[in-house]
Each structure stands twice: as structure tokens, then as C-alpha cells.
């Protein structure tokens, strides 16, 4: 109950901010950071809870983005329909990859997720309707009442999406589904013998994780007014989506949230002050440092510090 009160308060506060006079840049940056929250929470459903590493985040984000685009081009669908459509296709992609590889060892799943990126990128590059390799320019309304700008509206959409993603991750974690996933991760054989339908539960995680990743991608075309395959299917998404939960902490729903906020803010700062290459390097280095030295992430460090200072 406490969680829901806090969640709704935060959403309302952030939405309220968007109606204020604050600098437009903050909403651009805020959008990106919140997108990170969605990606990190979604990734962790499969990565942290079940132990399956999804490198194919760009594929899911891309599927979401291009589904939204197609819906926009074909039937001028409103944003909510675009998001719903993107979630469905991305969820189906998760189901496909899961069915193909979840019977095998974890690393084959991971490699398959990389494969999907490049295959989908090739498909999109050869599909003129969505702009092919050169991409597509989009027109979007300048203003969207009651917001001062379209960007602010997208910001609020992202706030709600982030709240949704974190809530779903939290629900899965504290429910028996989360315990089932942990059982599968700790010992799949013992989980089977304890009545856990291991394949089904892994597929559920795949679909949930994939769908939410796709949702994060659906707002991209409108946010950028532009879409093209190279940046949409860029592998950098994968490093970020991996780094945020690892830095924040993989075994609790608050971890990806913390990781996304910390890394997102840091990335914005670095990109603006130094360079964008260095930004990616920072992400990579932090990822490796945390994986080696602090595998339980920031949340884990806080916990350790709390129990040792008692």
C-alpha cells in the first residue's frame, strides 16, 4: 500500500512539473532518463530474476519503435494505440526468442538475442515503407494541450510508463512468480521437481520483459521526429540496459530504478560536458567495475553498509 501511495504521488508531482515553467531541456533529459527506467526495469525481469541475459534490447526497442511508426503511417493511430501495438509485437518477439532457445543453456539465449538485432535491422533496412536505411522524417504537432509542448506530453507519457514498468517488475518480484523465477535461476532441475512450470514461467518473463522494452521504443519516433535503423538498432542500448540494473542492483525492483537514475543523470552530464564517445566508455567501464567488484549493485552496497553499521 505504501508503495502505491508513493508511486502515485511521484507520478502526479512529475506530471505537475510538466505544466510549470521549467526549462524545456529538463524535459528532454527527463524523457531519456525515464526511458532508462523502463528499459532497466524491463530488462531485469528476465536478467535479474530469471538469470537470462538479453543482449537484444535494441531489437525490442526497434520493434516497438517501428511498430509505432507503421501504425502511425498506415492508420494515423493515436499515441496510445502505437504504444499498445509496440508492446504486442515486442512481446511476441520475446515469445519467439524464448520458444527457440529457452530449452538450451542461458548463453544460447543471449547469443540468439544478438542475432535478432541484426536480422531485424536487415529487414528494416530493406523496407522502403518505413524509410529503409536512410530513415524517415516525421512531423509531429508542436503543441499538445494542456501541455506547452509535445515534448512535455511525451515526458508525462514516459512518467506513467516508468511507473508501470517499475510496478510490474515489483509485482513479479514479490509474487510467487518471482519466487518461481528465482527457483529456476538457482536450480532449474529442483524447480521442476517442486512443481514450477519452468518453461512457461521463463516464457512469461520473456514476454513481459520484451513487451515493456518495446513500449520504451514506441515513443522514440515521435520524440525524435525522425527514425532510422542504425541508431534504433544500435548496440549501445544493450550496454545501457545491462549496466543500469547491474549498477543499481539486480535482485530487487528498486535496483534498476536507482541504476537508471544514477547512470542516466551521469550520461547526460558527460555527453553535454565532454563527448558522446566518452559517455559510452563510462557506461562500459562502470558495467565492468560493478560486475567485478560490486555484483549486488548500489542497493547491495547500501544493504551491506546498513547491516555492518548496526
Amino acid at each position: 500500500m505504501k508503495y502505491w501511495i508513493g508511486c502515485i504521488l511521484v507520478v502526479l508531482a512529475l506530471a505537475g512539473l510538466s505544466l510549470s515553467n521549467m526549462n524545456e531541456y529538463l524535459f528532454f533529459a527527463g524523457f531519456v532518463i525515464l526511458q532508462g527506467v523502463v528499459l532497466a526495469s524491463a530488462w531485469n525481469i528476465l536478467g535479474g530474476y530469471a538469470g537470462y541475459v538479453n543482449f537484444g534490447v535494441p531489437a525490442f526497442v526497434g520493434v516497438g519503435a517501428y511498430t509505432a511508426l507503421v501504425l502511425h503511417l498506415a492508420i494515423d493511430a493515436p499515441l496510445l494505440v502505437q504504444i499498445a501495438g509496440g508492446m504486442v509485437t515486442a512481446g511476441l518477439l520475446g515469445l519467439f526468442v524464448g520458444l527457440l532457445t529457452l530449452r538450451l543453456r542461458g548463453i544460447f539465449f543471449s547469443i540468439a538475442t544478438i542475432a535478432v538485432i541484426f536480422i531485424l535491422e536487415a529487414v528494416v533496412m530493406n523496407w522502403r515503407y518505413v524509410g529503409g536505411a536512410t530513415g524517415l522524417q516525421l512531423t509531429r504537432p508542436e503543441v499538445m494541450a494542456p501541455f506547452e509542448s509535445y515534448t512535455r506530453m511525451l515526458f508525462v507519457v514516459m512518467v506513467v510508463m516508468a511507473a508501470l514498468a517499475v510496478s510490474v517488475a515489483r509485482y513479479i518480484q514479490i509474487s510467487h512468480i518471482g519466487r518461481g523465477l528465482r527457483a529456476v535461476r538457482d536450480s532449474e532441475e529442483a524447480a521442476e521437481c517442486s512443481g514450477v512450470p519452468t518453461l512457461r514461467i521463463k516464457l512469461i518473463a520473456c514476454v513481459a520483459s520484451g513487451g515493456l522494452l518495446g513500449a520504451a521504443g514506441t515513443t522514440m519516433p515521435m520524440y525524435l521526429s525522425y527514425i532510422e535503423p542504425a541508431s534504433t538498432f544500435n548496440l549501445t542500448w544493450a550496454v545501457s540496459a545491462l549496466a543500469m540494473p547491474i549498477i543499481g542492483g539486480m535482485w530487487h525492483w528498486s535496483g534498476p530504478l536507482v541504476g537508471a537514475l544514477v547512470l542516466g543523470t551521469l550520461q547526460e552530464a558527460v555527453t553535454v560536458t565532454i563527448s558522446s564517445e566518452l559517455n559510452v566508455l563510462v557506461v562500459g567501464v562502470l558495467l565492468v567495475v560493478f560486475v567485478v567488484a560490486a555484483p549486488d549493485g548500489i542497493i547491495g552496497l547500501i544493504r551491506k553498509w546498513k547491516t555492518s553499521s548496526k
Binding site: H176, R179, R185, S187, E189, E192, C193, S194, V196, T198
Partner: protein, 238 residues
């Protein structure tokens, strides 16, 4: 007395190697069956085929009258087959109690306070009540074995297969585990026990089956089987 488990003509190959060859075995309801045989004779493979960890290549596995040979392991657990593992497989990131909550929720649909109460009751019967909140990867060997059994029991099985639960335990610890198994059987649960510790097998089993090189070479009362020359040759070599 009807049979709770009927294995007929079971065979299992791994590539060119035959692990089980035409094994036929019936277990009566409520029986205490001992399964013995030298290392590599196929005992664990047989158990794996019964519990669903492996699928047999030929033959039938009838549990409570139904052929379960093509069912996934979790489905078989739902029907009432539970097992412990030779090398314990705890859910290491969970506490002892949480380990039990898994089968309690997935097999018996118990959640929340009811599940916790049931888990604690089981742990009490096993003598693990004071370890309920400990992370399972920090337990001692005998505690792990007991937790394995408790977790298997949490699934509310009709047939419990104990795979070398006593290996490496001290005399007193063996007695503890044996005691638990007797108590469970007294409640009506059929138990198949795989063991190398002969006194335990003799003491516990009503009937003993001996495997060697994937085939049943002898079946009968504990005394008969132990005295059988084929059994002795299998264990001691020619």
C-alpha cells in the same frame, strides 16, 4: 493393495551407452522400497525417468494408473511424485522457509500466511524450525539433506523418492533422517529409498530391488537380496 507406481519395460540410452534395459518394477501403495546397486548401475537414471528429469526411450511409467512417461517433471510433481537429489540442490538465494514456499505455492496453491504456517510445521517435523530464516546456501550437509526432504514433502506427494539422502552423514545423522522417513511413511506416503548404507536399507525397507548395469538382478526381502550371490558379485566384483 493396489500399486501406486508401475514401471514396465523401461529403457534409456545415452548415445551408445545403455543406462537402463527393460526394467520392470511395481511399487505398492504405502510400501517402503529400497533400491540398491553399485555405482553406475542406473539407480539415479531410473529415478530420473520416474520423476521426469529424463524421458525414457522405451517402456511405460504408470503412476496412480496413469501413464506419465511423456509428462514434464513439474506435471508429475503436481500428480504426487516428489524426490530429493543426490547432491542437494537448494534454492541458494532463498531462506529455508522460502525454499518450501515454492512447492507450497506451485503444487498445493497455498499462499501468504497459510503457506508460511504449513512451511513452519514441516520444518518443525524435520527439526529445522530454528533454521527457517537462514539462507539455504549456508546450511550444513545434514541440514541440506533434511531441507531437501522437507521441500519434497511440501509438495504433498503420495510417492517420495529419496536419492542417497544419507550419503556422507554420521551414524547419528543417518538415524535422524531414517526416523523422519519412517514418520512420513506412517502417514501413508510411499517411499523409494536409494542408499548405499546397508544397515539403513535393511532397517527401512520392506522390499529391496537390486540394479546392476541397467537391469534388475534381484528382488525380494532385504535378507534375501543381501544374501543373493548375484548381488554380492555385483558389489564385490568377480
Amino acid at each position: 493393495m493396489e500399486n501406486i507406481l508401475e514401471v514396465t519395460g523401461l529403457s534409456k540410452h545415452f548415445g551408445g551407452f545403455t543406462a537402463l534395459s527393460d526394467v520392470t518394477l511395481a511399487v505398492a501403495k504405502g510400501e517402503r522400497l529400497g533400491l540398491i546397486g553399485p555405482n553406475g548401475s542406473g539407480k539415479t537414471t531410473l529415478i530420473n525417468c520416474i520423476s521426469g528429469a529424463l524421458f525414457n526411450d522405451a517402456g511405460e511409467v504408470r503412476f496412480k494408473g496413469q501413464n506419465v512417461a511423456r509428462m514434464a517433471a513439474n506435471a508429475r510433481t503436481q500428480r504426487g511424485i516428489a524426490r530429493s537429489f543426490q547432491i542437494p540442490r537448494p534454492f541458494g538465494s532463498m531462506t529455508v522457509r522460502e525454499n518450501l514456499l515454492v512447492p507450497l505455492s506451485y503444487v498445493r496453491n497455498l499462499f501468504g500466511a497459510k503457506a508460511v504456517a504449513e512451511a513452519d510445521a514441516l520444518l518443525h517435523d524435520m527439526g529445522l524450525a530454528d533454521r527457517a530464516d537462514v539462507l539455504s546456501n549456508q546450511l550444513s550437509q545434514v541440514e541440506l539433506r533434511k531441507m531437501e526432504l522437507a521441500r519434497a514433502m511440501a509438495a504433498g506427494p503420495d510417492l517420495l523418492i529419496s536419492d542417497e539422502a544419507m550419503a556422507g552423514l554420521s551414524g547419528a545423522e543417518v538415524e535422524e533422517v531414517l526416523d523422519i522417513l519412517f514418520k512420513l511413511n506412517a502417514k501413508g506416503i510411499t517411499i523409494i529409498m536409494i542408499e548405499h548404507i546397508m544397515q539403513a536399507v535393511m532397517k527401512f525397507s520392506q522390499r529391496v530391488v537390486c540394479l546392476d548395469a541397467g537391469q534388475i538382478i534381484c528382488e525380494g526381502s532385504p535378507q534375501e537380496v543381501v544374501a543373493n550371490e548375484y548381488v554380492q558379485r555385483a558389489y564385490l566384483g568377480d
